[in-house]
């Protein structure tokens, strides 16, 4: 069969993946938070954003899976449970591409500090837990600029899972990883799915230079630490309000 002879490379899956584009050609900076659901990342990024907003800094906040162009397709796919690991992943990549090309990149070129709640590492961790090939995923998102800082909020599985299940009466189908057929019990499926994602995140700590944050620390202490790391690693002055002479 076949018009073409595919090139199957033995062990290709085990080789280290392509790193994200290292080249920087813009004056802005990109700070992202990552971690499993319930790790505290969104709360911490919110507090960081408020701190910078109140200070009058030039910032932009962007959230995973929020592009209006792709929204209706994602909603339809999820409601009717049409998504496979491949289409789930591609649809989120399209969403990211839209935000990347219309918000993140123009703002980085325009000298903004861009804050992202979840970034490509979410796709790497979660879609790989769904069975997508890590190499395929790395290529899919290779157009994404590398963050200046990736804060990885890590909380033990039980802590994170309890935070989510206590606040949410019903977990959504894909959120709980029900499409994987791990378990018919949503809570059980969610837990196993999150465990796999956590494992995938942990593997990226070194390769992708994550800044490890202890998600079990008190909120205000953790925020203090986050602000300190940000100030040390990024020259915040360049995003400060311009003073009138």
């Amino acid at each position: 069969m076949a018009t073409a002879t595919p090139d199957i490379v033995a062990g290709a899956e085990a080789t280290p993946e392509k790193a994200l584009a290292p080249k920087r050609e813009f004056p802005g900076a990109l700070v992202v938070v990552e971690g499993i659901d319930g790790s505290g990342k969104s709360t911490q990024l919110y507090l960081l954003k408020r701190w910078l907003q109140i200070g009058g800094y030039r910032i932009h906040f962007t959230e995973w899976n929020s592009s209006p162009l792709v929204k209706s397709a994602t909603r339809r796919g999820k409601q009717r449970r049409l998504l496979t690991p491949a289409t789930f992943s591609l649809l989120h990549a399209a969403d990211f591409a839209d935000r990347c090309e219309r918000q993140i990149l123009p703002l980085l070129h325009g000298g903004y500090l861009v804050l992202a709640d979840r970034y490509v590492y979410t796709a790497f961790a979660r879609d790989a837990a769904r069975g997508c090939s890590p190499r395929w995923l790395r290529n899919l998102y290779s157009f994404a600029p590398t963050p200046d800082i990736t804060f990885y909020f890590r909380a033990p599985l039980d802590v994170a899972v309890n935070r989510i299940t206590a606040g949410r009466p019903k977990l959504k189908y894909y959120e709980a990883g029900m499409d994987l057929g791990i378990s018919l019990d949503r809570a059980e499926s969610f837990r196993i799915f999150q465990e796999r994602i956590l494992g995938n995140y942990d593997q990226m700590v070194e390769t992708d230079h994550f800044v490890l944050m202890d998600g079990t620390m008190r909120v205000n202490k953790l925020q203090k630490q986050m602000r300190q790391i940000l100030s040390e690693r990024i020259e915040l002055g360049q995003f400060a309000p311009k003073k009138k002479k």
Partner: protein, 275 residues
């Protein structure tokens, strides 16, 4: 970009090897691992796929749709069940892409990935089930058009081949090659104008529609010349008569599927296509 075995995208085939190999095996299928370009789709058992995938590529105005109608009828008359696929026909995002194309907000990468979603949704929900049932899938364009369109807009070929690494390798890929000027005449006659995307107007090539169309389609054609070598297309003269192109298609498909006779004349319903 350097290509290595580690991040091998869709690999280059040896020209002409496909047909030779196809004849050697029982149902035209070579070794099972070769049915995907690089990475197998999760959850697919390749041994279940007993059908055949036949792709017809070509620009707008190359006669693709006409040939697909005729080939469908011929195959059905020979007792083969046919399933078709094409761009923007997925239930998941087909209409969403139509919506994006109607506006000018969408950027090249988003569009490329929406087309990718559209492709894989059809692959998983339409093509694979059909192939499991032993059907002949006729694809009115395939990943090659998608790769070419994005490549001329500056997205790297390696990137694009990587996105489609989990695509199924077709049994046969025909390319109906026509000159852009001829395609222009044919397309213009259909609608008395030329569409925004067909003429690549998003690329700001020319304010004149004819110039824009010809330049854009020439760029696409160059990508196809490259893809044809890389993937071993069967190139046909799309400027030949409908019946002549159809005769060649039937001959190649018949030999692949083991059909003995290739006699065919269109039914009354399709007779108007036979010119």
């Amino acid at each position: 970009m350097k290509r290595s075995a580690k991040n091998a995208a869709i690999a280059a085939p040896e020209n002409g090897s496909a047909t030779k190999r196809a004849k050697g095996s029982k149902n035209g299928h070579g070794d099972l691992a070769s049915r995907f370009y690089g990475i197998p789709l999760p959850g697919v058992n390749i041994e279940d796929l007993s059908g055949n995938l036949i792709v017809i590529e070509g620009s707008d105005g190359s006669g693709r749709s006409t040939q697909i109608s005729l080939i469908t009828e011929w195959l059905e008359s020979e007792g083969f069940a046919v399933q078709t696929m094409g761009l923007r026909r997925s239930f998941l995002v087909g209409e969403d892409i139509d919506g994006l194309l109607a506006e000018n907000a969408v950027t090249r990468m988003t569009l490329a990935l929406m087309y990718g979603t559209d492709f894989y949704d059809q692959l998983e929900r339409r093509i694979l089930p059909a192939l499991r049932s032993g059907l002949i899938v006729l694809a009115d364009r395939y990943i090659f058009t998608l790769i070419a369109r994005s490549a001329v807009r500056g997205i790297s070929r390696d990137y694009l081949h990587g996105v489609y690494e989990m695509a199924l390798v077709p049994d046969l890929t025909f390319w109906l090659n026509v000159r852009p000027e001829v395609a222009f005449d044919r397309e213009f006659k259909k609608a008395n104008t030329i569409s925004y995307w067909e003429s690549g107007r998003d690329m700001s090539l020319s304010n004149d529609l004819f110039q824009s169309f010809v330049r854009y389609q020439s760029m696409i054609k160059r990508e196809f010349e490259y893809l044809s070598k890389r993937h071993g297309f069967i190139e046909l003269d799309g400027e030949g008569s409908v019946s002549e192109v159809n005769r060649v298609l039937r001959k190649r498909i018949a030999s692949h599927l083991g059909i003995r006779g290739t006699r065919y004349s269109p039914s009354h319903a399709l007779a108007h296509l036979w010119r």
